[in-house]
């Protein structure tokens, strides 16, 4: 993947580009907002990582300008602590995701992966499959190995998010945001509990696990042994 990082803090920038480098991605870093805009308009990237506060041109204006000329490259905003409104502002100008500093690299990586390889689901695709597990989005039914599995609406939503991101890691925070619309860190094991309930229904009776825990990172779904 070709990633452009626009971030004026050299340490953060080095941390990110080192991390992506290890994952085998090509990273370019810029510290100035205006340079970032020129570069993003001139070249083709798979994803942009943009800090909110930048010299030259702030992150929001950069993305607004990009969107104004029809550039649809996925953008992740980085922002400093405590901005109650920052996330909404970022999404309003056309950002795709948002991450508060300081963050674990695994979190950024998971979000970049989720964005960059977002498959363009064909409209016709109404059935999601992982191994022998099937989810019918129209009939809202779930079957595994031919058995009908009853799920609560929220369990269905959790499974849908996991299945749509088949093979990709979803962090706890991403699940909290996407399944329960929690934009804060709960102090109890909300994610773990719901995952465990889901596992009881779709994994445990079949002996072969489809939901996998990625240590220190989050969860993923695949049917590789």
């Amino acid at each position: 993947m070709r990633i452009l990082v626009v971030e004026d803090d050299t340490e953060t920038s080095a941390y990110i580009s080192h991390g992506f480098g290890e994952e085998g991605h090509v990273v370019e870093t810029l510290a100035d907002g205006r340079d970032g805009l020129t570069q993003a308009m001139g070249e083709t990237y798979d994803i942009l990582v943009v800090d909110r506060m930048l010299p030259g041109l702030d992150g929001l204006s950069l993305v607004r300008a990009l969107r104004a000329v029809g550039n649809k490259v996925p953008v992740i905003f980085l922002t400093s602590l405590g901005g109650v409104d920052d996330r909404v502002d970022g999404l309003n100008v056309g950002g795709d995701d948002y991450l508060v500093k300081p963050f674990a690299f695994s979190e950024l990586l998971a979000r970049v992966n989720a964005l960059a390889r977002r498959p363009h689901l064909k409209d016709a695709e109404t059935v999601l499959r992982v191994g022998d597990l099937e989810m019918d989005l129209i009939a809202r039914t779930v079957t595994r190995a031919g058995d009908n599995i009853e799920l609560q609406p929220r369990e269905f939503r959790l499974l849908e998010v996991l299945m749509r991101n088949k093979g990709r890691v979803l962090t706890r925070t991403m699940l909290l945001e996407r399944v329960w619309s929690f934009h804060f860190e709960p102090r109890t094991s909300v994610v773990e509990t719901h995952i465990s309930r889901l596992r009881t229904k779709i994994d445990r009776p079949y002996g072969h696990e489809l939901i996998h825990t990625v240590r220190g990172s989050g969860y993923t779904m695949h049917d590789q042994p």
Binding site: L81, G82, E185, T188, H194
Partner: protein, 459 residues
């Protein structure tokens, strides 16, 4: 500083303006009075002269010139104080009778000065003027005139009154100006001293409010409200910073010790990794505390209210109860929901923040209560308010502590040893306040009952 230049004080200026206004009014009043009286007197004097003239000509007509001469002579003699003049002249120019001499013939009304009139008698006031008129009689001319003495008298009295009136007005104006100025100045001086005390750090000083409820008292009330708000803010900031210093010292110290012992765990890679992972977890919780603190600060500053929209409170509560039910069950507890709301439960708010508010309350109940907790989540309509309830059967909060738990980083003594930032309820309070809601803590006998009173959405 307050200027002590007397002319610059507002009450003095107002008093001066009022004094001038009063003076002008008095002068105008007296002038109108004078003009009216003088013209009235003027015409009554002339009328009097005409009446006498008419009587005398009647005598001339009916009884002849000779009788007229006799009557005029008699009248002229009988004039006291010299308030009338008479002169009867025959056609040959000879003086027949009268108390003045040598007055030229003129037509119409004439005004004759006493000083210029050759008088038969030297009686009378030398300042007198006479309104006089010549009339043709059978064998000569008759002059009759009346004195303007009354007019002058009226003028004298009015001028006199005007003088006293003006003097009294000015005296009153100056007196009240001094009184008002002194009174206002005293209050303003108190404001000034109080405010300068405040600026020197005595933030608890207040301006006295008198019972007179005048404009300065309104200002005083405003000043006091501002000072109280400032004091609360300053206390909050002080409280928060000392709490931060206090409560973060511990986890930061722990983090430091962990990193040190990681450094010294020479070649045991597994132990080293373990230490570093724990250090990261410590760091995350420190960051979380900061994040929560900043969030509270921003919420208290009123951030985000612009994103409010109408939403159903029962939906929010049902959702959150739904999410937490398995979590509570996992901890061998029970979460019971009684959110049956047929009626409208619309409020104006931010769904994300409200979700966080109730999540915090439920998590609080869960964490502070023993196993087998029973948590009740409910929604009731009470008048124009919607009351969301989260109640548990845990240890509750002692009554004297109930106000304190909303303070940032405050933690009950018995919880010092358990993990937690002590920010949960302050965040709840901040979110509630942003929504115009009030949070009330009560005894659930046993346990804690938290009620959040929301105003219904308008319209």
């Amino acid at each position: 500083m307050i200027s002590h230049d007397i002319l610059k004080r507002t009450p003095v200026r107002i008093a001066a303006a009022f004094a001038s206004l009063f003076a002008v009014t008095v002068v105008a009043l007296v002038s109108v009075l004078y003009i009216t009286l003088v013209s009235e007197l003027d015409s009554s004097i002339r009328q009097h002269v005409e009446e006498i003239t008419d009587t005398l000509t009647a005598i001339d007509r009916q009884q002849g010139f000779k009788d007229l001469t006799a009557v005029v002579a008699e009248e002229a003699d009988s004039v006291r104080d010299f308030d009338s003049i008479f002169l009867l002249r025959a056609d040959d120019g000879s003086l027949q009778a009268g108390n003045v001499q040598n007055v030229q013939l003129f037509t119409g009304w004439g005004e004759l000065d006493r000083a210029w009139l050759p008088m038969v008698a030297s009686k009378g006031n030398p300042d007198d003027r006479f309104f006089a008129k010549w009339t043709r009689v059978s064998k000569g001319h008759l002059l009759v005139g009346g004195s303007d003495r009354e007019i002058r008298e009226v003028r004298r009295i009015l001028l006199h009154g005007l003088g006293w009136g003006l003097a009294a007005t000015l005296l009153l104006a100056i007196g009240s100006a001094v009184y008002l100025a002194r009174r206002a100045q005293q209050k303003i001086d108190v404001f000034a001293t109080t405010l300068s005390k405040v600026s020197r750090g005595q933030i608890s000083e207040r301006v006295p409010v008198t019972a007179s409820h005048d404009d300065l008292d309104h200002v005083a009330t405003q000043i006091n409200a501002t000072l109280a708000h400032l004091q609360k803010l300053i206390e909050n900031v002080n409280q928060a910073s000392s709490d931060i210093a206090h409560d973060l010292k511990k986890p930061i110290g722990r983090l430091r010790r962990r990193l040190e012992s990681a450094l010294s765990s020479d070649d045991d890679t597994a132990a080293f990794r373990g230490q570093v992972e724990e250090a990261l977890a410590d760091l995350d919780s420190i960051v979380e505390t900061f994040e929560a603190l900043l969030r509270i600060t921003q919420l208290e500053a009123g951030a985000r209210r612009s994103r409010f929209c109408n939403l159903s409170l029962s939906d929010v509560l049902a959702d959150i109860a739904d999410i937490y039910e398995p979590v509570v069950e996992e901890a061998d507890g029970r979460l019971l929901t009684s959110v049956n709301m047929g009626e409208r439960t619309e409020i104006t708010g931010d769904r994300e923040l409200l979700t966080q508010l109730f999540a915090n309350l439920i998590e609080n109940a869960l964490r502070h209560s023993p196993v087998a907790t029973r948590i009740d989540v409910g929604l009731e309509a009470r008048g124009d308010r919607l009351v969301a309830i989260v109640a548990d059967n845990g240890p509750g909060i002692p009554e004297h502590e109930r106000d304190n738990v909303f303070r940032r980083l405050y933690r009950l003594e018995r919880e010092r040893s358990t993990p937690g930032s002590g920010l949960g309820l302050s965040l709840v309070a901040a979110i509630a306040e942003l929504h115009g809601a009030t949070v009330e803590l009560a005894d659930n006998a046993p346990g804690l009952r938290v009620e959040v009173h929301f105003p219904r959405a308008s319209g």
